[in-house]
């Protein structure tokens, strides 16, 4: 097995046992990236020098017999909407094309403290707005399993990088499914933690009440490991819970009780691809065979989730993105100097934002504007409560919920770009968890006849990530979908 094909936990083990140096790992990985990047286009920015010098630092620590962190020597990719001090952070937007943050996001600081090596910043839909990574202002990332397909989004770069072994693990952000959906399209494990489990400080906001950072990895153990590192309280995020973080790694293979798994009818109905449906049915059988009880469930308000989401998310986004005005940082339109400030703003933003971002800002401002607030924003906030209640009721009866991550496998590049609504509807199964704030994990559970990965989603109670990981690990122990790698032998 080549170095870059290892999981993060394995490569860390080999580095800390001095079987290989961190420098060798980074060099080998960079070689592979440079070979495959032209094909997949996952990275917006590679920090080769930074990665190599950090690798040397860790090797030195190890040779001096010093203690090293939980991610010692592991090269990690970071979605380019998380601030990295001194390293360009663009959100895949022209408006931040040359923005170099003067500070590290909380999660970035955490992984640095655990001796991870940041290898680069990955592509995304501009400001994380999209489900295909086609909305990037800079490049289109391809799905490693089929380069004519999208990798999913918005964390498409991170998901593709992990899938193509171009990073050992990655961080993504999930506002409506942006970690889980691309993980499922690329055959990765992806987890959206409970809202408030991981600090959002330094995550460039799309929709503040929905955004949550999560790991994208090659297997469940790596997800547990990365979640362990990034979870916990942060004084710089008022919405971050001050709860103790359990040990996600210990006992991950043990599931004591007989679990009740909720199977929500609404997620298996019309619109679900039949191959995905049958993969899910097979997966449920594996759980049953391991002693779990399946419980038929209804989440009656989830059919309103997409509509609710597109009001709340765009309303928050319209305000969050108001700061990109060309005054303090970022792009400013080169207008003649006698133009007034309003024109400067409007031109700057017209030049700096892509169409999807503009569309959502317009929609959000519409939903909040005088006369529409009650009909849209307030109405959606109420329906959001109904959706949350659906889950709370369900979790009185079951320990977790299993459903598909997406109604279809990865679709073709260009297929849905002209129909925004159709694109929005592809997140129908992932959005409810963001609205309710509950955690969800997507793991590989099969392949379509065309060879595209299928994702299974496990949803859990608030702050019950540990159970999700155990459930996912049980499935992984019984199957080998996660071990399959894309061929990547296509030519550019």
């Amino acid at each position: 097995m080549l170095l870059h094909e290892l999981t993060a936990s394995k490569v860390r083990e080999r580095i800390t046992k001095r079987e290989v140096t961190a420098q060798e790992v980074v060099e080998e990985l960079l070689e592979w990236i440079n070979l495959k990047e032209p094909l997949i286009k996952t990275y917006l920015c590679l920090d080769e020098d930074g990665a190599l010098s950090k690798a040397k630092e860790i090797d030195e620590k190890l040779s001096n017999g010093n203690k090293v962190g939980l991610l010692a020597g592991v090269p990690i990719a970071i979605k380019d909407n998380m601030c990295t001090a001194g390293v360009k952070t663009t959100c895949a937007s022209k408006i931040l094309e040359n923005f170099i943050p003067p500070y590290d996001a909380f999660v970035v600081k955490r992984i640095k403290d655990e001796d991870a090596i940041i290898i680069g910043k990955t592509n995304l839909d501009e400001f994380a707005m999209g489900s295909s990574t086609e909305n990037s202002a800079f490049q289109i990332t391809r799905n490693p399993w089929d380069i004519d397909c999208i990798p999913g989004g918005s964390s498409g770069g991170s998901a593709a990088a992990v899938s193509a072994d171009m990073a050992f693990m990655a961080l993504g952000s999930d506002t409506g499914g942006s970690v889980r959906q691309p993980a499922s399209f690329c055959g990765d494990v992806g987890l959206k933690p409970t809202y408030g489990r991981v600090s959002r400080y330094g995550l460039i906001a799309f929709a503040s009440s929905l955004d949550q950072i999560g790991p994208i990895t090659k297997d469940v153990l790596d997800t547990a490991l990365l979640l362990q590192v990034i979870s916990g309280h942060d004084n710089f995020d008022s919405t971050c819970a001050a709860l103790d973080v359990p040990n996600y790694i210990s006992d991950i293979d043990r599931l004591d009780d007989v679990l009740k798994i909720g199977v929500p009818r609404e997620f298996f109905g019309e619109g679900l691809n039949t191959e995905i449906k049958s993969a899910l049915m097979d997966a449920l059988k594996i759980y049953e065979a391991n002693g779990a009880k399946l419980v038929d469930l209804s989440l009656p308000h989830c059919e309103y989730a997409v509509a609710t989401y597109y009001i709340i998310a765009t309303a928050e986004a319209s305000s969050n993105l108001a700061r990109y005005d060309g005054v303090r940082y970022g792009h400013r339109s080169r207008l003649s100097s006698d133009s007034n400030i309003v024109d400067m703003y409007s031109q700057t933003r017209a030049e700096g934002f892509g169409n999807e971002v503009k569309r959502r800002i317009l929609l959000g401002n519409y939903a909040l504007s005088t006369g529409y607030y009650e009909a849209y924003y307030l109405k959606a906030s109420k329906v959001r409560n109904l959706i949350k209640n659906d889950f709370e009721d369900a979790f009185k009866k079951v320990d977790c919920i299993i459903c598909p991550t997406c109604p279809t496998p990865a679709f073709k590049i260009g297929e849905r770009v002209t129909e925004p609504l159709e694109m929005y509807l592809s997140d129908i199964y992932t959005i409810p968890a963001n609205l309710a704030g509950i955690p969800g994990i997507s793991i590989p559970c099969g392949f379509t006849s065309a060879g595209l990965p299928i994702g299974m989603q496990i949803l859990g109670k608030y702050f019950d990530e540990r159970k999700l990981l155990k459930m996912a690990k049980l499935f992984e122990n019984e199957t080998d979908f996660h071990l399959k790698r894309p061929k990547l032998n296509q030519q550019v």
Binding site: V327, N340, L362, N365, L421
Partner: protein
Amino acid sequence: MDIGLKEIEYIANLSRIALTDEEKKTFKKQLANILDYIKKLNELDTDTVEPMAYATDLKNVFRKEELTPSLSRQKILNLSPSNVNGFFKVPKVIE
């Protein structure tokens, strides 16, 4: 709930985004399409439902009243598209 050209122009101005006539037409069509889908919410009677304004149950989160260092002015101004004499420079603002 119809959205016309006037509404598009109004929210484009609120949004501070300059739009071409072509863009106005496209966005009008797309937003109308999305808003039409969103109408779905009206199927639900929410008169007695409380809005969910927060995604957490947290309350009373404060920081201690304490000074922490500011960023150096050079670092701040280095980020800016235009500055002069320690100030950010913008097109003339008329009150």
